[in-house]
Amino acid sequence: MGEAIYRTYRVVARRSEGSVGATLILDGPLQAEPGQFVMVWLPGIEERPLAVMDDDPLALTVRVVGPFTRALAACAPGDRLWVRGPYGRGFPVRGEQALLVGGGSGVASLTLLAKRLMQENGHVRVALGARSSDQLMLPWRFRELGCELLLATDDGSEGLRGTVLDAAEPSLSAGWADVVCACGPEVMLLALARRMEGSDVPLYLSLERSMKCGLGICGNCYCGNRLVCLDGPVFPVQEVLCLLEPPP
């Protein structure tokens, strides 16, 4: 029956992500490129974009910020989710030494990339930042995949005290990476982009914007003259540098 808009999944397992969210492992696969997103509908509540954290089985990682994410993070095994997608352009799977930089829920955009890169025998370093240890998202997943973890917390409760950029800095200044991929709050992305200005290492940024259609029609997800759902969410830094919102 090919007419359904959504594919329904059931939650098979729920794992909490520190104090800020949860990862939901679902009961079936979804073929997706790393960095692509899905639209997740909770009937009666809302529909929102979420990164494909893993593809087989499909897994989502959610950080609670409002009503939808609260409801989603509260899902228990057996509960149903409605999913359409995947949508958007993802990260290129390339580079022998890849540095991934993630903050907040953006970390979920990087796990599938890490998996693919590891499958291709790449070396993957992952810099993750959070306010404190119990807000770090998905470090367990990158460990599982065999990535090298570089952690930073504002309060120093885990990894070095500082920002995710501080955690990435040694690799950046050593010229270790031949590609850098990042997702997280826009101030973080902007800082990373500025840090790497002049470098010829390619930098890809995954952006987040509020979305309605996810299909490149409604214009809701604009970022300058780009549509995040159609042209992104992943962009080479050159395409979006001047469009990133400066810190308030």
Partner: protein, 309 residues
């Protein structure tokens, strides 16, 4: 001989007949100018009201295989914010030669007039009155576009505060479409846009056992709408003398030429941006030109309305 694709739309010259439809790609200068740079002869901003509106919660826009269904609920930042963005768009559009069409709606005739009054300061080439949105019915009652009198009152109210080129956007759901068109033209419309979305329709999710759109119903656009839109344009072109933007399901040069033959002066494209983005404008133009060359048609005037026989 090069084919001349320019058209005159209510006194405004467009480099080509293709128009980005309202509500597609939003209302920010960035995306409007991008569509124009990539071939649109005019771009229409998303409908805006005097006061800001949040619109309906998601899901609001779905693709169901034969087009879109949407109930965005006319979300917009309000005329005062929109005016600034459109002023910027207007300026940045100048080098492209494309016209800016500012779409406006209101809940009363005065509401239309008030919003146009503000938006007009951005100096759009044309103003389009969206009297035909089917997605806010529960809020506002039946759309103006279903009733000749109501449609005329909204048009008149705007005409009283705005002297520039004025389009009124009609609904494919109006049983007396021609009467509505005559009424708005008599009330001062310089042109018509035909059509807005069809229906409304509904999709139900089996597992959720409820309508998918948060508004339950939404307007149908895209391929499913095309034959009805063509019929509307044909009817209108046979009944009124003003130019028409033929909109509804256009996604190829074939479809655009069909609208022209039905009597359209220009051709709106909305749902057609699905998958292809604004690349559709150049493709459709090329397909139109290719057909015109093959058939030795030098200008759109030669075939406009020819289906009336």
């Amino acid at each position: 001989m090069a084919i001349d694709m320019r058209v005159d739309l209510a006194g405004v010259s467009l480099p080509n007949p293709l128009v980005l439809a309202s509500g597609i790609w939003g209302s920010v200068a960035g995306t409007l100018v991008r569509a124009a740079s990539n071939g649109a002869g005019a771009v229409t901003s998303k409908s805006c009201s005097l006061a800001p509106r949040i619109g309906h919660p998601n899901p609001t826009v779905l693709h169901w295989g034969h087009g879109f269904i949407n109930a965005v609920g006319l979300s917009n930042p309000g005329a005062h914010v929109q005016r600034q963005e459109l002023a910027r768009a207007h300026e940045e559009l100048a080098p492209t030669g494309a016209a800016l069409i500012a779409s406006v709606f209101g809940d009363t005739p005065q509401g239309f007039a008030d919003a146009v009054h503000v938006i007009a300061e951005a100096e759009p080439e044309l103003v389009e009155l969206n009297i035909s949105c089917p997605n806010v019915e529960s809020e506002f009652g039946r759309p103006f576009a279903l009733d000749p009198d109501a449609a005329a009152r909204a048009t008149e109210a705007v005409r009283a505060v705005y002297a520039g080129p004025l389009l009124v956007k009609l609904s494919p759901n109006a049983p007396e479409l021609v009467a509505v068109a005559r009424a708005v033209v008599a009330a001062g419309a310089d042109g018509l846009t035909a059509v807005n979305t069809l229906g409304p329709g509904m999709l139900i999710d089996l597992e959720a056992r409820r309508p998918i759109l948060s508004n339950r119903v939404g307007g149908i656009s895209g391929p499913a709408l095309r034959p009805v839109a063509v019929r509307c344009v044909f009817e209108l072109a046979g009944a009124v003398a003003v130019p028409i933007i033929g909109t509804g399901g256009v996604s190829s040069g074939h479809d655009a030429l069909e609208m022209i033959m039905a009597g359209a002066t220009a051709v709106g494209i909305g749902s057609g941006l699905y998958c292809e983005g604004d690349g559709i404008f150049r493709r459709v133009l090329e397909e139109m030109e290719q057909w015109m060359e093959q058939e030795a048609v030098d200008s759109l005037d030669e075939i406009r309305g020819c289906a009336h026989g």
